[in-house]
């Protein structure tokens, strides 16, 4: 039966338009990703500026931090906030979790910078709602009256709990570094303040049931930050360098 000619030569009956449609869907998604990526790249560039300003805390004495670090940093953060607004506007047109891998990292970076800036200004932690309040910009007022954090119902751009907590881990690492450097710069009160803050935050992290994920790994690292800061505090207390309450007040 397979003796004559070419029995298996012929045209397939497969409808190739299926693959054309597929290509156009893939292209559509790439276009969206590229559009979002462009905004995220801008945010990332601005983020490097913000972080370079913030990293001056490690060699600027506490008294001058306000003018030399916090003020310029605030301006840089405001620029980032505008980018977050544009991102929110662009991203809210699409399913949040379909594309959030594009911006996750940069959002965490900017939230972390903001958290650090705020801590240096006030010594306090910003809640996720307050973070959202800061970043909502004009977009959120127009499109969503509520603060876009941890959105559960509407599929819009927001800052997730995971983003917030991962950002917090970065802030803590930076503060642990500051504990050492502030002693070098002659500020003996700051390590105590940092130690208390990190321990308070870690107490919170210990409540969470974390699976073996990024958040688990990052938050496990807080232990080491605590130990490093305690080391600094211990060194100071051993030598009687820890300021009394009145001294702390005078310094502030």
């Amino acid at each position: 039966m397979t003796t004559n000619g070419a029995p298996y030569a012929g045209q397939s009956l497969i409808d190739t338009s299926i693959f054309t449609t597929l290509q156009s869907k893939i292209d559509e998604e790439s276009t969206v990703r590229d559009e979002l990526k462009e905004i995220v790249d801008k945010l990332s560039k601005q983020g490097r500026t913000t972080q370079s300003i913030l990293s001056r805390i490690h060699n600027v004495p506490s008294q001058s931090v306000g003018t030399e670090v916090l003020d310029p940093c605030m301006k840089a953060l405001e620029e980032q906030r505008n980018s977050v607004s544009s991102l929110a506007e662009a991203a809210s047109k699409f399913p949040f979790y379909k594309y959030n891998f594009v911006w996750q990292r940069e959002i965490q970076n900017v939230v972390s910078s903001f958290q650090l800036w705020h801590w240096l200004s006030s010594g306090k932690l910003k809640s996720i709602e307050e973070v959202g309040e800061y970043f909502r910009g004009e977009f959120a007022i127009l499109f969503a009256p509520t603060v876009p954090v941890n959105v559960k119902d509407a599929d819009t751009f927001h800052i997730t709990i995971e983003d917030y907590l991962l950002a917090l881990c970065s802030t803590i690492e930076e503060l642990a570094r500051l504990a050492t450097n502030s002693v070098t710069l002659g500020d003996h009160a700051r390590p105590l303040q940092i130690s208390k803050f990190i321990k308070d935050v870690y107490a919170g992290f210990q409540l969470l049931n974390l699976k073996n994920d990024a958040l688990r790994k990052r938050s496990d690292g807080i232990k080491y930050s605590i130990r490093n800061v305690e080391g600094v505090v211990y060194d100071l207390s051993l030598r009687g360098l820890v300021p009394k309450d009145e001294d702390t007040m005078k310094m502030e």
């Binding site: 039966m1 397979t2 003796t3 029995p7 298996y8 030569a9 012929g10 045209q11 397939s12 009956l13 497969i14 409808d15 190739t16 299926i18 693959f19 449609t21 597929l22 290509q23 869907k25 893939i26 292209d27 998604e29 790439s30 990703r33 399913p95 949040f96 979790y97 379909k98 932690l125 809640s127 996720i128 941890n150 959105v151 559960k152 119902d153 509407a154 599929d155 709990i161 907590l165 208390k196 321990k199 308070d200 935050v201 107490a203 919170g204 992290f205 409540l207 969470l208 049931n209 974390l210 699976k211 130990r227 080391g231 211990y234 060194d235 207390s237 051993l238």
Partner: protein, 294 residues
């Protein structure tokens, strides 16, 4: 009694752990260890803790419940995805017993099994529909995706066996219960996997019938597979996680097509001399065994 022992053991554990940490501490500290160090530190710590419980606990309590809900949902979806994968594999297995391509299925046993399996798949999907609504549709996409892909493979394979055609995306979407999204990614990855099944059925068919299945005016399973390969090779998958998966699957599809090509070659060249039931030697030219490991 038992409880007491446990409690003592636990206490002992925490004590020894604390001691270990103290040891670590002394090693890393620049200060020489000296008497009284431990006590000082312990006092310092307990004093601080008594002074002020963390003000952030209520906030974290809230996160805790959110994160727990998330993990529970995620696990339900993973479980469903695994079950759907298992049921789909059984469907594919039943489909491999098909005798002719391009005709309605006739194997009664296979049809009964498949109806039952499809019902189980439907119920499993429906069990997690609530978990995959609105914003969560894409949130747990990575967890449900393997199940959907395997089911797509089964649905596309069945459709091909009956109609000798590829089901379109919109047709495919109707095979999944309402409320579950069929992404284009899962659909196309299902097509890739289906080519592997086509390879298996083509080779079995050739071994038993001495010709290619699905012969229709020159077209056959082979020409269909070659067309799919060409069309899939034409696609630019872009970059990102999907593109990587796409490349990997394309490699396997190429091998499947070549495996059938070689079998047909060997059948046309030497098959005539062989008695009926002779299996073509598929490993004659290329190291195709590795396909099985995918």
């Amino acid at each position: 009694m038992c409880v007491l022992v446990d409690a003592i053991e636990e206490e002992h554990y925490t004590e020894s752990k604390a001691r270990r940490e103290d040891d670590d501490w002394q090693q890393t500290s620049s200060i020489h260890p000296m008497a009284g160090v431990k006590r000082n530190r312990a006092e310092m710590e307990s004093k601080e803790q008594e002074d002020s419980p963390s003000p952030y606990l209520p906030m974290f309590e809230h996160f805790k419940s959110e994160i727990d809900t998330h993990h529970d949902r995620r696990e339900r979806v993973i479980k469903a995805s695994r079950d759907i994968t298992a049921y789909s594999k059984k469907i594919i297995f039943a489909l491999q017993r098909t005798k002719e391509i391009g005709k309605p299925l006739t194997d009664r046993k296979a049809l009964t099994d498949m109806t039952k399996l499809k019902q189980q798949i439907k119920e499993t999907f429906e069990g997690v529909t609530d978990d995959l609504q609105g914003i969560n549709a894409h949130r747990y996409q990575r967890q449900i995706s393997p199940g959907i892909q395997e089911f797509m493979e089964a649905a596309l394979f069945e459709h091909y066996l009956v109609n000798q055609a590829i089901m379109t995306h919109s047709e495919a979407a109707t095979t999944i219960p309402a409320g579950i999204t069929l992404t284009y990614e899962d659909y196309v990855l299902g097509i890739f996997d289906m080519t592997g099944e086509l390879m298996k059925i083509a080779i079995t068919y050739m071994a038993t019938n001495g010709k290619l299945p699905g012969l229709q005016g020159g077209a056959s399973v082979l020409t269909d597979m070659q067309t799919m390969r060409t069309q899939l090779e034409l696609i630019n998958a872009g970059h990102g996680p999907f593109a990587k998966e796409f490349e990997g699957k394309l490699r396997v599809t190429r091998q499947s097509v070549e495996k059938v090509e070689i079998s047909v070659y060997s059948m046309t060249v030497r098959g005539k001399e062989m008695p009926k039931g002779w299996k073509p030697d598929i490993n004659m030219r290329q190291p195709v065994e590795e396909i099985e490991s995918y």
